[in-house]
């Protein structure tokens, strides 16, 4: 045995442990960070960065917006690290909100969030995988027929369906297989892609992008045509608009802070999850990698090469429907314009393929665990917590959700107007659940004092006020402001009746399901009131 020394040189008092059974599952620090990076939208996030923001919110500064979003993340990371280290097990928001606030809130809000995730990420992830990944590769291979098919409604649906089926297969195979795929396929693919993007854009400094752009499409769509169309749409160069930059935090706030999301969902399997600082650092590391290295830096470099003004012109011309490119406009396509080397195009596309697939898969992995926690608590029928004896995974629930996801993919593919609603709705749903969890954190020391006192965050106070309360209040206010912005600002697309129907419907179904399950349980003879009774620890 060895004794550690403190800063004064006195050996630290150490605990003695004895051989006994009962360890928990473990994911490493690195696995946790990378998993968080993928669930926060590694490269997938580019789908939000162009062309809608430039058209709908003129003067937006994307890198600044990402860095400001990271500040929101710093608050949210602490809240989740504090709650996670106090309750280091799977379930995330459901667990925190049901313990600190009320079981109805704990069920309804995460339910709505999970529902919106299912609406959003399988099809959106497949969309990025296809349009940012497969399309540029097909273009580089001069396979025009494949390109046309990929961007067609049928093409979008088939790629989405294949992605969903792949996610389903991976989910029922267990976390072990996913961990290996993440470690040996997703992470290397992402790193190689980002390094290629950085190298490609740096090598393109000073080159003539207009020439590359003009020659990319047949028949040609030229920069002059784009500029003329933008002018016709009313575009004129403008400086940075702070208000328009802040507005879009409401959307990206769902991603950068959510580099901790998957870690929360899987916390029962994270090594060292009882340590607040360890959790906080893993979330923060994931957030910085995501916001700075994977989104802000590549966007900055691409803007420099393509020209920020041209990006704005293109967004305006396309948004106004005055240009009709043969491809769905996105950053991935612009990158493929910078090189005629198919290998380089493929390496760039690889990152979007793995990023798109990973974010679709995160929904399967995390939601299955949250739904399972709800099932075990009796808030959902046992169907959701039914684990396959052979695979040790929730096969039935994963299959049900996969069928639902296929339906959503069909709507997404054949009713394009749903694209923005679903994409933004999913993002705002995340901010709402984060906000409610921040509220749960604010009252955590008072609503669940015995759990708080036993947690690492009990050490941190400002005066007599627990730091988790202060950060919780801060996070609640920030999240609330972001939700209000999203609901009142037409640029974000959530002011329409159909968008609010989707968002409101997700929460209403949560209340209905919760009430229905309680009635069903009561008819089974189960005394559902027991779950809500307070048991004193004295």
């Amino acid at each position: 045995m060895t004794a550690r020394a403190d800063s004064a040189g006195t050996p630290r008092v150490q605990l003695f442990t004895r051989a006994s059974s009962g360890l928990i599952r473990e994911l490493s620090f690195g696995d946790t960070v990378w998993y968080g990076v993928f669930s926060g939208g590694a490269l997938f996030g580019f789908v939000y960065l162009f062309p809608s923001p430039q058209y709908l919110s003129p003067g937006i500064n994307i890198p600044l917006m990402l860095l400001l979003t990271l500040l929101y993340g710093v608050v949210v990371y602490f809240v989740y690290a504090a709650l996670g280290s106090a309750m280091p097990r799977a379930g995330g928001d459901y667990l925190y909100e049901s313990r600190s606030l009320h079981p109805v809130v704990g069920f309804t809000v995460p339910w709505a969030c999970q529902l919106l995730f299912w609406l959003t990420f399988p099809p959106a992830g497949a969309y990025v995988l296809s349009t940012f990944g497969l399309v540029p590769i097909a273009q580089a291979a001069n396979a025009d027929g494949i390109v046309s098919w990929l961007v067609s409604e049928n093409g979008v649906f088939v790629v989405s369906a294949v992605t969903v089926i792949a996610c389903w297969a991976l989910t029922i195979s267990g976390l072990h297989l996913y961990r290996r795929i993440q470690r040996y396929v997703l992470v290397p693919g992402l790193v190689i892609s980002v390094l290629t993007i950085i190298g490609l854009t740096l090598a393109s400094f000073g080159t003539n992008f207009s020439r590359d752009f003009d020659h990319f499409q047949t028949p040609a769509l030229t920069t002059q045509q784009v500029a003329a169309a933008a002018a016709k749409a009313g575009y004129h160069p403008m400086g940075v608009s702070l208000s328009h930059t802040l507005i879009w935090i409401a959307v990206l706030a769902a991603y950068v802070p959510y580099s901790m999301y998957s870690a929360q969902g899987l916390l029962g399997e994270v090594k060292g999850a009882r340590s607040l600082t360890r959790l906080y650092m893993s979330f923060l590391t994931g957030g910085v990698i995501l916001a700075v290295i994977l989104l802000a830096l590549p966007f900055l470099l691409i803007s420099h090469v393509v020209g920020a003004d041209f990006l704005n012109q293109y967004a305006w011309a396309y948004g106004a429907g005055l240009i009709h490119p043969a491809y769905l406009p996105n950053i991935g396509v612009f990158l493929s314009m910078l090189t005629s080397n198919p290998l380089v195009v493929a390496l760039v596309a690889l990152g979007f393929i793995v990023g798109g697939f990973a974010i679709a898969n995160v929904v399967f992995v995390n939601s299955a665990r949250v739904m399972m926690a709800m099932g075990l608590d009796g808030s959902l029928p046992s169907f959701f917590s039914d684990v396959s004896d052979r695979r040790h995974t929730p096969v039935k629930a994963a299959t049900l959700w996969s069928v639902c996801a296929l339906g959503v993919c069909a709507i997404f593919s054949y009713v394009p107007s749903w694209f923005t609603i679903v994409l933004i709705g999913g993002a705002i749903g995340s901010v709402i659940v984060v906000g409610v969890t921040c509220l749960a954190a604010a009252v955590f020391p008072y609503r669940a004092p015995e759990i708080f006192q036993a947690s690492p965050s009990a050490r941190y106070k400002v005066g007599s006020v627990p730091l988790v309360t202060i950060m919780g209040v801060l996070g609640t206010v920030m999240s609330g402001a972001l939700v209000v912005v999203a609901l009142v600002n037409s640029a974000l697309g959530l002011t329409s009746a159909s968008a609010q129907l989707v968002l409101g419907g997700a929460f209403v179904t949560g209340v209905i399901v919760y009430a229905a399950v309680r009635v069903y349980r009561r008819r089974e003879g189960v005394d559902t009131s027991l779950a809500f009774r307070y048991v004193p620890p004295e």
Binding site: V13, L23, S382, D389, A454, R459, R521, G525, D527, L530
Partner: protein, 329 residues
């Protein structure tokens, strides 16, 4: 198949009596107190505590320089006076650790002598179990709610004497007891081998023999309760991390899961098909499953967080289980 409640479609039978079950407290003071309070809060008529009462960590509180030092939640904390010392000790106990107040010399001795540490561990474990049983008698005797307790694979054999001498609680280990009219319960704290040298780890064959001896004495196995610390193998209540046993102590292999339940427990349940199986041992694998017609329950354990995970089973007047659910408090 995992279940949350009775799955039969017919109208549920009315509750006649209610059983409250929890397990794997591992020296968690808060969890024990919550359990005793839960008996009245959940309106239970019978209380059962599964095995693994004893803790895994010994926390020296070292007297030094007019104060005391101890590691609490990974950080060294100090107590300047008796009141602060009392708070520190209470805090350590709430974490499921055994606080031992020692001088600097005694602490040095503990660092050098692993046998001395083992003796301290056992002494503290026995002391705490005795305190718990006294508290249980104070709380439950006035309610008239019987309390059945067993050891678990992690528990020292020496706690048997403490359990046997308890004024109110009943040591159920190795016995066939009638806990309600027409409902018998057999209990076993022994477990199949683990990668650790736990006191009550025995071979599957020996475990099977012990279970068979008790089960064969049941008058109506179909209405019986099998209170067996280890869950049945491959039931879904026994999923945990696979361990690398080539290192000491064994290290979990990231992301690799195995079934760690007992084949002997599974075999005896499949053979006798009791009404209810009460299990623990694998803290992270809580749930309710059916093995044949037997409803097997593992409420799991979160003793370190002060969270009581328990199961409530309602029985009809004919002694058959009417409904069941897991609860967290």
């Amino acid at each position: 198949m995992r279940l949350k409640a009775r799955s039969r479609a017919r109208r549920p039978a009315e509750r006649s009596w209610r059983l409250l079950y929890a397990t794997d407290f591992h020296a968690g003071d808060v969890v024990l107190r919550k359990f005793l309070n839960a008996v009245s809060v959940y309106e239970a008529d019978v209380a059962v505590i599964g095995g693994d009462l004893t803790g895994k960590r010994l926390a020296p509180v070292v007297k030094q320089d007019g104060g005391w030092r101890a590691e609490v939640l990974g950080r060294e904390q100090t107590a300047a006076d008796g009141r602060e010392l009392q708070a520190m000790v209470r805090r350590i106990r709430e974490l499921g650790q055994y606080p031992v107040v020692v001088t600097a010399e005694e602490y040095e001795e503990l660092l050098r002598d692993s046998d001395a540490v083992a003796r301290r561990f056992e002494a503290q474990a026995l002391l705490q179990v005795e305190e718990w049983l006294t508290l249980a008698a104070e709380r439950l005797e006035p309610l008239g709610v019987p309390l059945y307790v067993t050891g678990g694979n992690d528990d020292y054999f020496s706690i048997e004497a403490v359990l046997d001498s308890a004024s109110y609680a009943i040591n159920a280990d190795g016995k066939v007891l009638e806990i309600a009219p027409g409902v018998q319960m057999i209990s076993c704290g022994y477990g199949n081998p683990t990668p650790w040298p736990c006191p009550r780890d025995i071979s599957e064959e020996e475990l099977g023999s012990r279970l068979e001896i008790m089960a064969s004495q049941l008058s109506d196995p179909g209405r019986a309760i099998f209170n067996l610390h280890v869950p049945p193998f491959g039931s879904g209540l026994d999923v945990c991390a696979q361990l690398d046993t080539s290192v000491d102590p064994p290290r979990p292999l990231v992301g690799q899961e195995i079934n760690a339940g007992s084949t002997a427990v599974r075999a005896v349940i499949e053979r006798y098909q009791p009404a209810i199986g009460l299990h623990g041992h694998i803290h992270e694998s809580s749930g309710i499953v059916k093995v044949g017609s037997t409803v097997c329950i593992n409420p799991g354990s979160e003793y370190g967080e002060g969270v009581l995970r328990s199961a409530v089973v309602d029985f009809a007047a004919d002694g058959r289980p009417a409904s069941w659910q897991l609860l967290t408090a």
